[in-house]
């Protein structure tokens, strides 16, 4: 049974003629223990899709099923790492994680909770920064606290909403490796939303492009059959990596690109960039 399933999900904002159709006919199945990456343009509706998965928004059409049950509203069975820094600035790293632990494991003793928070802090290598507040941490450290907070509630599924989007390239690479390692150790079902194709390939078992908006939808999925642990330096020379990358970019620049009115179906006419990317 799929852990998470979306059937014909659509979402618009506004009503009538002024309505903006953000997502249409989204179909997605995520298996237990699988890591799926959804790659798309900025502003294509990635965050809307994530909000739907989190339960923060309800779809206009279609349904979302989590472990066989229709999803109703948000809940701590989904651990979300938000795109922006969503740590509460008046709480320390430790207390931010404790907030989630207190809420999910209400019956635990104080000692159990403390041990649990410590375990996740050490998992993201921030034991030394436990007593620091978010503004005293670097961007990368903050997102590591966010990951720890999301995982500390033992969620059924981990939702990563462009978690590394605001970081510099080097920090981003380090964190990608760390997330991959943490995921390998936990094997929590995960959905990553990103605008970075390479990041998707490096981390995921399956990569699915999201077409450009308005009315974005998911393109054909590509399986990533590259064995783990994946080495970011070796992987770029792997022919499988290049072929996956070309397929995904080919879709995003071709059929998945913004449709220009008055032109032929872009599925047939490829832009020069697409041909370049495919070459």
């Amino acid at each position: 049974m799929a852990c998470l399933e979306l059937r014909g999900v659509a979402k618009s904002y506004g009503t009538g003629d002024s309505a903006t159709h953000v997502l249409r006919n989204i179909n997605l199945k995520v298996e237990q223990g699988e890591f799926v990456a959804i790659v798309g343009y900025s502003g294509a509706g990635k965050t809307t899709l994530m909000s739907l998965l989190a339960g923060l928004l309800t779809p206009d059409r279609g349904e979302i099923v989590l472990n066989g049950k229709p999803m109703v509203g948000p809940g701590p069975d989904r651990g979300v790492v938000f795109q922006n820094y969503s740590l509460l600035p008046w709480l320390t790293a430790y207390d931010n994680i404790m907030l989630a632990v207190n809420q999910v494991f209400k019956s635990w003793s104080a000692e159990q909770k403390r041990a649990h928070v410590d375990k996740f802090l050490s998992m993201v290598k921030l034991t030394a920064a436990a007593k620091k507040r978010p503004h005293e941490l670097s961007g990368g450290m903050r997102q590591r606290v966010s990951v720890a907070r999301a995982l500390a509630s033992n969620p059924e599924i981990l939702l990563l909403d462009e978690p590394l989007g605001a970081l510099d390239a080097l920090t981003r690479a380090t964190l990608q490796d760390e997330i991959e390692k943490i995921w390998r150790e936990n094997r929590t079902t995960a959905v990553l939303i990103t605008n970075d194709v390479d990041e998707g390939i490096l981390l995921a078992d399956r990569i699915i492009p999201l077409s450009a908006g308005p009315a974005a939808t998911l393109g054909p999925e590509v399986r990533v059959d590259i064995p783990r642990p994946r080495d970011r330096r070796a992987i770029t020379h792997d022919p499988a990596f290049r072929s996956i990358r070309n397929t995904v970019i080919g879709y995003l620049l071709g059929p998945g690109a913004r449709k220009k009115p008055g032109k032929m179906d872009p599925a047939i006419v490829l832009s020069p960039q697409t041909e370049e990317a495919l070459a």
């Binding site: 989190a54 923060l56 509203g73 948000p74 809940g75 701590p76 989904r78 979300v80 938000f82 922006n84 820094y85 969503s86 509460l88 600035p89 008046w90 907030l99 989630a100 809420q103 999910v104 507040r133 503004h135 005293e136 509630s153």
Partner: protein, 261 residues
Amino acid sequence: MKSFREKAWYLILPFFGFAVILGLWALVASTFAHNLPSPAKTWEISKPYIVEPFAKRGELDQGILRFTWYSLVLVAKGYTLALILGTPLGFLLGRSKLFSRGLDPVIQLLRPVSPLAWLPLGLVLFEKSEPAALFTIAVCSMWPTVLNTAMGVRSIPKDYINVARMLQLSPLQTFYKVLLPAALPYMFTGFRLSLGIAWLVIVAVEMLTGSPGVGGFLWQEYNSLIYEHILLCILTIGFVGLLLDRGMKLLEDRLRPAEAR
């Protein structure tokens, strides 16, 4: 880095400011304003009230700080009332578009009304001077608290509220663990401005109700033709107001999120 000389100047300049005002005061008093006591005369007549600030020689004849204390107690009561009324109102306005739409015009209408206009209404409502005074202080000073709290609540990042929703915090937990700490820095700006207004209002209120305090003293001494004490009261009111504002500012700065410091 400023040089030593620049820094010394920087510290000395305020004293020049005071000296100029004092000089103008002396000049005005010695030339055309014959009823205005000179600075030296003011000091001489006010001295007993300053050197024995807590003396109580009679109901109408007490040390300046004792009068100030009466005023502060009254302000504290009225100000507390303003916070008790203003903070929840601010939260409602910040959280609900409906409330905001419905109440904002009313607030804009009531906000500019002078304490001199509210006090008679308070007397009509409560028929006694103390509750009328508290009513006036509260109704005049609550608006900055209301508006700043509402602004603070409105500017809470959506991500924080999403975190509360994902963790399924109850409305009460969401309030105490997310909304309140996130809005607190804004609220304190409102609290500080409200305290300033409460102190401003007290003088008018005491003048009209004749209750003992620094404002009541001022009015009584005007009627007794002891003009030196008017100046003593004005300086005291200014000084206490400054201290209150600085104190609140210190608290406010400690609460401001560190990244904005």
